[in-house]
């Protein structure tokens, strides 16, 4: 312990400028976030001065988050290279250093000047956001583990196997260069981790914080911790530089595999992933939700081409069996294979989860879809469509779906001013448009939550004659539940505007004072795959 403190004290004396920079950036981040969350709610989505101010603060939050990462990178690299484990000429290798204690001293330094300030800052940020820090200890620890796996340990390991700051930087950029193509590909993939990542930026998240699949953050971070830990041990304890470097090469490979796999919301074209995450059920055990051909005279297959598009939209009617009360189902992916009479075949995938892909919720909340009829929609390139439009074709649908179970219901009368909703977070409802809900939660978005409210068709508080129940609804959160998402700012935003799937809604849509807003949380029961083959389908506009 004496040697640990001795090395630690030396590092503090030597690297106080780097420490001050890191702490300064973190302090600034806390201040900016606190200011951001203290802004008046009514102007949050507005285009007025406060709205502009909010946008500016969010941008500053993102910049400070990035600066914080850079300051950590500098701090870690400098501290590790003070006794660089590689090379043959460093003074310390012929001094009475105990290598294990040296590693311990470096991690003690990181605990004191990286982790402890971060924990303190996150608690302050949570408190400033109106959330109870002590209620989020599990999330905080999980988040620290993710930060360790995705940032701190990889940076430490790279610094460990390189001898200079320049080489560390070069190695880091090489690793990013390997990962980036996968990430860029992913940006354009709706619902993918990268796309989610970009969305998270809008809410003060961390760049690339959602690069990796939400549900797989734990396993991937543990893998990275293991790989980086092995590299560090090989280098520090066994002095095997090349073995350590080879071990470390596995890290970007793991990240790439993780990004490509996108588990547990894989592209259905990846058969291995599909089989892993969406087991195909037999007819006998097909679960509560049954799908069948929904075509009839009133509900034909709709093919539509918007002017200027080089593809057509196809909307395929499906019939869904009723669900048991308190359950719901979502479509997490769709694979379509179309074959014409001459044997020509074409396939497409619709990956990711969208709120509009909610297939069905149980009867007590299924007023929007009384007919239990849904459409699966996809696009076909116009060049391909030309081969299918003249004669009937066979359409094979493979639906990846998630079955969900109601986990809790909370009703709060409108308007909601910063009210804590159990299991969700601190929520507020606004009169913007037809009404909107926005929630702040600690470290992660809530479990998949269905939020609904009854609209009035007349302006409030006018008497409601000829009341016709019309429900505004929105979804937020994810069905994949982990205690935290990767990020420095511990507050996650979720929510959306109330919408309706009903086309026959006439009159106004007003949220009146006293109207209950219902939050229904769902937990994932299982994921399954359903195949459905539709014969004799006419794809004509």
């Amino acid at each position: 312990m004496k040697q640990i403190l001795h090395i630690f004290a030396k590092d503090v004396r030597r690297f106080w400028p780097e420490i001050l920079v890191s702490l300064g950036v973190l302090a600034a981040l806390v201040l900016v976030c606190s200011r951001l969350w203290s802004l008046p709610q009514s102007t949050y989505w507005g285009r007025d001065e406060i709205g502009q101010h909010t946008d500016n603060l969010m941008l500053i939050t993102q910049i400070l988050s990035a600066f914080l990462l850079v300051s950590w990178w500098l701090l870690i690299t400098r501290v590790i290279h003070a006794e660089a484990p590689t090379g043959e000429t460093h003074f310390w290798i012929t001094r009475p250093y105990d290598r294990k204690l040296l590693v311990a001293a470096k991690f003690f330094f990181l605990v004191v000047f990286l982790y402890a300030p971060l924990v303190l800052a996150q608690m302050l940020m949570l408190a400033a956001a109106g959330l109870n820090p002590l209620a989020s200890i599990a999330g905080m620890l999980f988040n620290l583990m993710l930060i360790t796996g995705f940032y701190v340990l990889p940076l430490t390991a790279i610094a460990t196997v390189t001898s200079t700051f320049f080489r560390t930087t070069l190695t880091l950029f090489c690793a990013l260069a390997v990962i980036t193509p996968f990430a860029v590909k992913d940006i354009f993939n709706p619902g993918s981790p990268m796309e989610t990542s970009l969305n998270s930026l809008l809410y003060g998240g961390l760049p690339f914080s959602h690069l990796l699949p939400v549900g797989d953050q734990l396993s991937l971070s543990l893998l990275l911790i293991a790989v980086c830990g092995i590299a560090i041990v090989l280098q520090y304890i066994f002095r095997r530089s090349w073995l350590a470097r080879i071990a470390l090469l596995a890290a970007p490979a793991i990240v790439c595999i993780g990004v490509v796999a996108e588990a547990p919301r894989p592209e259905l074209s990846d058969r291995a992933e599909k089989n892993l995450h969406y087991p195909l059920l037999s007819t006998a055990t097909a679960g509560p939700l049954q799908l069948s051909d929904g075509r009839d005279e009133q509900h034909p297959v709709v093919v539509h081409r918007y002017p200027g598009d080089d593809f057509v939209w196809v909307r395929m009617p499906l019939l869904l069996s009723p669900l048991q009360e308190g359950t719901a189902a979502t479509q997490e992916g769709l694979e379509v294979t179309i074959t014409n009479a001459s044997g020509f075949s074409w396939s497409t995938t619709v990956p990711g989860w969208y709120p509009e892909h909610v297939l069905l919720i149980s009867s007590d909340r299924s007023g929007s879809w009384p007919e239990q009829r849904r459409q699966s929609q996809f696009t076909i390139p116009i060049t391909v469509y030309d081969k299918f439009k003249s004669a009937p074709v066979t359409v094979h649908l493979t639906l990846a779906r998630a079955e969900l179970q109601e986990a809790g219901v909370t009703r709060i009368p409108f308007p909601i001013h910063e009210t804590f909703v159990p299991g969700v977070g601190l929520c507020r409802a606004m009169k913007l448009g037809y009404g909107a809900i926005q929630c702040r939660s600690a470290f992660r978005q809530p479990q998949l939550t269905y939020v609904s409210a009854e609209w009035s068709q007349s302006p409030c508080p006018a008497p409601q004659t000829e009341m016709k129940e019309v429900r505004g609804e929105t979804w937020m959160g994810f069905s994949d539940s982990e205690p935290a998402d990767l990020g420095i700012v511990p507050v996650q935003y979720s929510g959306g505007a109330f919408m309706s799937d009903h086309n026959n809604t006439t009159g106004g849509k007003y949220l009146c004072t006293g109207t209950p807003i219902t939050f229904t949380q769902y937990k994932l029961v299982r994921r399954t795959l359903t195949n459905l083959t539709l014969q004799n389908v006419r794809l004509s506009e």
Partner: protein
């Protein structure tokens, strides 16, 4: 007798290149051992193997009885190491560095530290990165002597230093010589000749000899034979006669196994008509040059030589 340094068939390869080739070496306790050799001979590699910085490809080496592969941590309480290529904690002041190192050594002698600081005229408040090369080496010496190590290993410590600094360092080193074993490498023979007790010669990774300095000086002689008439270089000269040269009536060579009684008789028997035979002691520099040239010539050995030393 104790041997603070001992190697057995010590070999280190870098790919196909052999940097150290089967070196067997024993350095007795209390010796000031100078390992000499040309640039690229393998001196630094051998020292790195000794210090556990590199691992042997074959063979074994020990420092203070510890296998160099396990040389770490507390073992360095008794070993001082200074190298011309050593990276110092440049961001520290000299005083800060001494303060820092002090915490690692239970036997650190603060009085000796103060004495060394005075002796080497070290500027305690200046950062190492701002010091001249000579000052840096002096600071490294001070930080490696202040805990009275049992073994001091120095890799080309005087290389590129001005004579004044070199003399200061040698003086500081010799003051500690009685309580320690010193092992140093150098390619400058003149700088080690005055104070080394033992010497080893490394050439292309091979240790050509390793012995006490006095024995070496006694063993080598420059022989000049003046013949009655001009004669070519005789064929098949003994292997102990290095660098034979003839010009007119004069034949010169280096005898590497001089014996006060036998050698004059051996030469006289070989050259019965010699008018004069002069046998002169040699400076260390001359001895090494003769050995080095003989070895380089051995690759394309002339028929006049049987073999090299």
């Amino acid at each position: 007798m104790n041997y603070p340094i001992r190697t057995t068939n010590l070999t280190r390869r870098f790919g196909r290149a052999i940097a150290v080739d089967g070196v067997d070496l024993s350095v007795p306790e209390g010796a000031i051992y100078a390992l000499v050799g040309a640039n690229g001979a393998g001196k630094t590699t051998l020292i790195k193997l000794l210090m556990g910085i590199l691992r042997p490809t074959f063979g074994r080496c020990e420092a203070l009885g510890i296998d160099s592969r396990r040389l770490a941590g507390a073992a360095f309480h008794r070993i001082g190491y200074v190298s011309e290529n050593q990276e110092m904690p440049e961001g520290m002041t000299v005083g800060g560095m001494l303060d820092y190192f002090r915490g690692f050594y239970p036997a650190w002698d603060r009085d000796l530290e103060a004495q060394l600081v005075r002796q080497f005229d070290l500027p305690l408040s200046r950062k190492l990165k701002d010091l001249s090369r000579g000052m840096k080496i002096k600071a490294a010496f001070a930080s490696s002597l202040a805990y009275r190590p049992s073994l001091i290993v120095l890799d080309e410590p005087f290389s590129g230093l001005d004579p004044l600094v070199r003399d200061e360092l040698i003086e500081g080193l010799l003051e500690r010589a009685q309580e320690t074993t010193i092992f140093l490498s150098s390619h400058d023979l003149a700088e080690i000749e005055s104070f080394s007790s033992h010497v080893g010669y490394l050439d292309r990774g091979r240790l050509l000899f390793s012995e006490e300095m006095t024995v070496l000086s006694d063993r080598f002689r420059e022989v000049t034979v003046t013949l009655a008439s001009p004669a070519p270089l005789p064929a098949r000269l003994p292997a102990t006669w290095l660098q034979p040269q003839s010009a007119d009536c004069v034949l010169r060579f280096v005898h590497n196994a001089f014996d006060e009684h036998a050698t004059p008789r051996e030469i006289a028997a070989r050259f019965p008509n010699a008018r004069a035979i002069a046998i002169d002691p040699m400076a260390l520099r001359a001895i090494f040059l003769a050995i080095a040239k003989s070895n380089r010539g051995s690759a394309n050995q002339s028929p006049a030589q049987e073999k090299v030393a």
